[in-house]
């Protein structure tokens, strides 16, 4: 990745993540506008950090730290998003943590495919 475009990459990643997760949430039966807004806000909260922090760690340390940090940050993001969903979402068909796991897993998976 060209670091000169890091901000652009951050925006693109965030936009794609939001689009994917909102679409998935709709498929899973989320219908309230407030719930969609919370999903968007939660992604704005976690996604930029998950994208930018590993890059900093790669520059300061090395590639292996970068790789492991992504795994750790993704897990933390799932837990944090689950907590927020638990507190704020009206949607209750799925457990909030399961919902968070599915949304994050799919958006991460799609990101991997694009990177291939």
């Amino acid at each position: 990745m060209d670091l000169n475009n890091e901000y652009l990459v951050m925006i693109i990643c965030l936009t794609l993540t939001i689009l994917i997760e909102v679409s998935l949430a709709f498929i899973f039966g989320v219908r309230k506008k407030r719930d969609f807004l919370n999903i968007i806000l939660v992604n704005i909260m976690t996604n930029p950090i998950v994208v930018t922090l590993p890059i900093l760690l790669y520059i300061v340390f090395n590639y292996s730290v970068y790789r492991y940090s992504i795994y750790i940050l993704e897990v933390l993001a799932v837990i944090l998003e689950g907590l927020v969903y638990l507190k704020t979402l009206k949607y209750r068909k799925l457990n909030p943590f399961v919902l968070s796991l599915i949304l994050n897993a799919v958006s991460y998976g799609i990101g991997l495919i694009f990177n291939i």
Partner: protein
Amino acid sequence: MKNFIKVLLIMAMFVPMIAHADLGAPMIREFEAEVIAETGLTVKDYNNKTVKFKKGDTVVVTGSGTSYQIVYKNNYYDLKSEDIVAIKPKTQSVNPNDKNIFKLDKTREFEVVVEKLDVYAGPASVYEKVGHISKGEQVTAFYAAKSESYSDYFYIQEDELKGWIYIGNGGENDHFNVREVNATTLKAIITKDITLNGTLIKANTVETIYYWANPWITTVPIIKVNNEMITLDDNDSYNLINEGKKPGTSFKERQFNILFKKDTKMYSTMKGSEVLETIPSGTKLSTVNLVYELMGASDTDTIDVLVFFNNKLGWVRVTTMTSEFLEEDELVAPYTDIEGDDDTEPTTEVEEEEKVKTVKIDKKQMAIIAVVVAVSVAVLAFSTIILLDKKNKKTTLDEINEELEKTQSIKVVKKDKKEDK
């Protein structure tokens, strides 16, 4: 159960995307052809099973490069080069509007490196030739057959000449017919004597490596040998030098500083022959070639690196016992200009050091700023979530209170009415 099925359905949506990836060697598009030879056509498969077609029969043809096969009842039969004249494609030409033709996201510029490159009416050499391009001429490719990355036939258009060219695949007997005009280039040092295209390239020669996507999607190293572009198949035969542009994601190498924990001999070639110098213990040098990180290396793992010491360039064999790779921002002793291709301009050691230092600081600064921005955005988003949630709860509470009031007032009205009665 329903949710589980939903998850499965979503995952199934992505299967076509993965299937489209066309894993495997590049194949030309399948096309239908008619057998035109009076005597028909006889073909054999890998197990020597024979199939005979008569004149007028329609066959399905596939293949890669300029080798073709007939597909018949899910089996592949080799079409010998002398039998190619026995068939004729049913469609005389293939234009970009046809199915399975891919428009390139970015046009590609090719320069012809062979004496004459034929242009065909379709993406296979069995189609009619519509013209040719001479050596040195440049053409622009707009479309690819099969898929953008898995194609060795590209559609070009130069003035009135439109058609398909075969770019080659850089193998020993199938050299590239073109070179990509804007290819990424890096310098590399050849690590052992190799023979390419009948020419001996000695160890420690510096060569320019060209990178461009070959039909197999990965970037491959290509080297110019006697004006022919040949793929460098042996990854052990070269080491990249000078941290420049990194093509694709296949390179995990970096330059490192090494601290020598023991006196270490420096050799003229990679596998050690003539000793040039002995590097004393405690010396810190940067690697000249890019080095793969030693991850979880054991005491016996060895790696050969190129270093610059006492104005000499040489190879040292290092292990985790004899040396340590240091993760530092600044390279200790970058190399001076290495003789080889005349593409690079010589720079002084100080300038090179300053350049490396400046680039690393800039990258680090930008990354820190990006993280700070990300954290600020996260805090803002979190605050918004909290505020909205409070507002939502308050609104709900107000609504509930309103309802309660209404209910109570209705009850009071009813009670009053009863009392009146």
